[in-house]
């Protein structure tokens, strides 16, 4: 029964060739990175079309995929999209609303994250949502779950079908942020001493206990995610925190500079893949 393990030897050989991990972050350009990263997965999982990667682990396992498709027929996140729509339409105390900050259009997913050259920082959609509230004299929302996830779910839903297209400007500060995100991705951390890439590149398609590890490609398309284990929606940065804790590393604050830079890098790596949030996960 367990003879399939022998075939893993081939994968171990391949893992030695995670080219990106072996170089200094500044050795390659974003365009070169994107090619290496995408080729890595397409060679590893031949026949899986690029857009399939938007579906996480379900792109790799037919049985899990069927169960998931059944769940998506009656999506558990539907009420949250409605709650988010209500938030979108609610007026602030000053009479304005979210539409005033987002040029009247909730379909904003493809515009984030972006490099704000003036402030020299990465701006994510969640950050922009809270900045909208604060600039209108309203209280910001918590970043991991709840109302912000509801609103993001509505905005993502309205944006379905937009393609990921995060530009990394040829600007020293923007490159610094991108390279910081990239280094974060390939750096070992925590008592278990794993990098993100150890689980989501080298071990993608393998099981950690009974959990099928999703490929890093497409990791940023489906957010926010309704996770059965959470019993609610969560944001991408909540997931980053959870993955940090799995290796017994300290999780960082959602929307910290490190996580925003990480999102900048990671989303760029999924350029060309359609946004399909919100989504459901085990």
């Amino acid at each position: 029964m367990k003879f399939k393990f022998l075939a893993l030897a081939a994968i171990y050989a391949l893992s030695a060739s995670v080219v990106m991990a072996d170089k200094k972050a500044t050795d390659t350009t974003p365009a070169e990175d994107l090619k290496v990263y995408r080729d890595y997965f397409q060679k590893r999982f031949p026949g899986i079309p690029l857009d399939e990667y938007a579906n996480g682990a379900y792109a790799l396992d037919a049985v899990a995929r069927d169960n998931w498709l059944a769940i998506e027929e009656f999506p558990p996140y539907e009420p949250m999209i409605e709650a988010g729509e209500a938030l979108w339409n609610t007026s602030f105390a000053n009479g304005k609303n979210f539409a005033s900050c987002f040029s009247g259009d909730p379909a904003q997913r493809q515009n984030f994250p972006y490099w704000d050259a003036k402030r020299k920082m990465v701006v994510t959609m969640e950050l922009a949502i809270n900045e909208c509230l604060e600039s209108n004299g309203e209280k910001p929302m918590g970043y991991n779950k709840g109302k912000i996830a509801d609103l993001a779910a509505y905005m993502a839903y309205q944006s379905r079908g937009q393609k990921t297209n995060v530009e990394i400007p040829d600007d020293a500060d923007a490159m610094k942020a991108y390279n910081a995100g990239k280094s974060y991705y390939f750096t070992r951390r925590g008592q278990l001493n794993f990098s993100c890439a150890h689980c989501h590149m080298e071990s993608a398609g393998q099981h950690i206990r009974s959990e099928l590890l999703s490929p890093a490609l497409g990791h940023t398309t489906g957010w926010p995610v309704y996770r059965a284990k959470w019993g609610e929606l969560g944001t991408l940065h909540r997931r980053f925190g959870g993955c940090n804790e799995q290796v017994r590393a300290k999780k960082l604050k959602p929307q910290s500079e490190e996580y925003r830079d990480l999102e900048f890098f990671l989303t760029h790596m999924s350029n060309g893949i359609e946004y399909n949030g919100p989504s459901a996960r085990k």
Binding site: L8, L192, N193, H207, I208, R209, S210, R248
Partner: protein, 122 residues
């Protein structure tokens, strides 16, 4: 000479075949308490959590990131080598995905010794 080599190979093959069925002679020096403790520590999610990556013994729903841990005594006749693999697998393979349980103090020395005792029964 040739016969000895052949015998050794046969022994190894037999050891591999019978591993896990406790048909091998007992592990010299390891007492049952240590073996039991080693199994507990290896299976405990907050300790070794070896099942996250390895098929081993009767552990339920093991992962498949690492190779199955079978015929350990035959494959690792040098106990120190097996222990070193758990203490710091990066020595063997700098790119390894296996955590360095000893070096990063995820497990104590005595816990690792107990795990080795348990592994030798597999």
């Amino acid at each position: 000479m040739r016969n000895t080599a052949k015998l050794a190979t046969t022994a190894l093959t037999l050891a591999a075949l019978f591993a896990g069925t406790s048909m091998l002679p007992g592990v010299a020096g390891a007492d049952d308490a240590s073996i039991t403790k080693g199994k507990e520590v290896a299976y405990d999610r907050k300790k070794g959590n070896c099942l996250a990556c390895h098929m081993m013994g009767d552990g339920a729903s093991p992962g498949d990131i690492g190779p199955p841990l079978v015929a350990m005594q035959a494959r690792f006749p040098d106990r120190a080598k097996l222990r070193a693999q758990i203490w710091d697998p990066m020595v063997n393979n700098p790119g390894t995905r296996m955590p360095a349980f000893g070096k990063y103090q995820a497990l104590s020395d005595s816990e690792i010794d107990a795990i080795v005792d348990y592994l030798y029964t597999l």
